[in-house]
Amino acid sequence: MSSSRASTWNKLGDAAYSKSEKVSADLVALTYGSFVREIIKDYEEPDQVNKELEKLGYNIGIRLIEDFLAKSGIGNCSSFEESAEIISRVAFKMFLGIRATVSNWNSEYNSCSIVFDENPLAEYVELPPEYTHSLLYSNILCGVIRGALEMVQIIVECQFVKDQLRGDDTNEIKIRFKEMLQEQVPWNDEE
């Protein structure tokens, strides 16, 4: 990762964040909390809740990507490696007001972690004991990342591996690269 690209992305993230119209971070945190409560009421089982949060995040991601591309100034995301940096330096800053870092690359460069110390979604939240080791409160973020990347032809799997609400020292989302979708050429299906 060249440092000049990294600093360009940082600047794009800062610019996208600072020029955008704002809303109270408390409104976002409280609304998310109330939404999670609603989902818990409907599904009860923490595993089911986690799955549903991921799915809802996916639905957001496939739309949010257009907002990101239209307003961040990022022209395109060409590789998995680059996309991971763009997510943490530009997208996290733009949508959550925080900058995350990419770490834990494996040797094949098809898996890494996005790490962030502050989580505006989980502000004011404390999990009751029965959920501490089962509920992934911010799992919606995994879905958002998966959905957004899928729309730019990058297929990934995401998983929360560390969560401060569970007592971890930081928040960490592991991303595994699966495949790059190829563009459909219109005449291929006639062969």
């Binding site: 496939i62 739309r63 949010l64 990507i65 257009e66 907002d67 591309l69 239209a70 307003k71 022209g75 395109n76 995301c77 060409s78 729309m151 730019v152 032809q153 563009e183 459909q184 050429v185 219109p186 005449w187």
Partner: protein
């Protein structure tokens, strides 16, 4: 002068069409659908002509004729905005960028809109009209 707008989803389906002027050609809805999917295919094919094949070339972005120009913008996700206008019309690229932004706001953030389906959103219509008027003023 702006003539027509087409919004085409990533599969080549027409999801929105609107004329900005009475002088714009009026086609049957079937012809609009056919036009959208044909242009979608031609654009995809034209990408293959790029000397150093790139995943990100848009292919054909502009077609000029004696009587009109056609300008296209495609996002990386594959949604396409195509506008036709009289040949002297300026700033079409900016106009299309603006429409893309309006689409992300007034279509995608509307919970009653289903992705890739025909666009029926009142606020999008209103904002589109304002953007067209704005463009008309800036270009004249």
């Amino acid at each position: 002068m702006l003539l027509s707008l087409f919004v085409v989803n990533k599969a080549g389906g027409l999801i929105y069409q609107q004329n900005f002027s009475d002088t714009a050609a009026k086609l049957s809805s079937n012809d609009y659908l056919r036009l959208a999917s044909t242009f979608h295919s031609i654009q995809a094919i034209s990408r293959q002509l790029s000397p150093a094949h790139s995943r990100f070339g848009f292919g054909i972005e502009r077609i000029e004729t004696d009587t009109f120009v056609l300008q296209a913008f495609q996002s990386q996700t594959g949604v396409k905005f195509v506008v036709t206008a009289t040949p002297e019309t300026k700033n079409l690229k900016n106009f299309l960028r603006r429409l893309y932004e309006l689409y992300t706001d007034y279509v995608l953030k509307n919970p009653f809109y289903e992705l890739d389906m025909p666009i029926r959103c009142e606020l999008w219509e209103v904002m589109l009209q304002l953007a067209a008027e704005e463009h008309q003023r800036s270009a004249s």
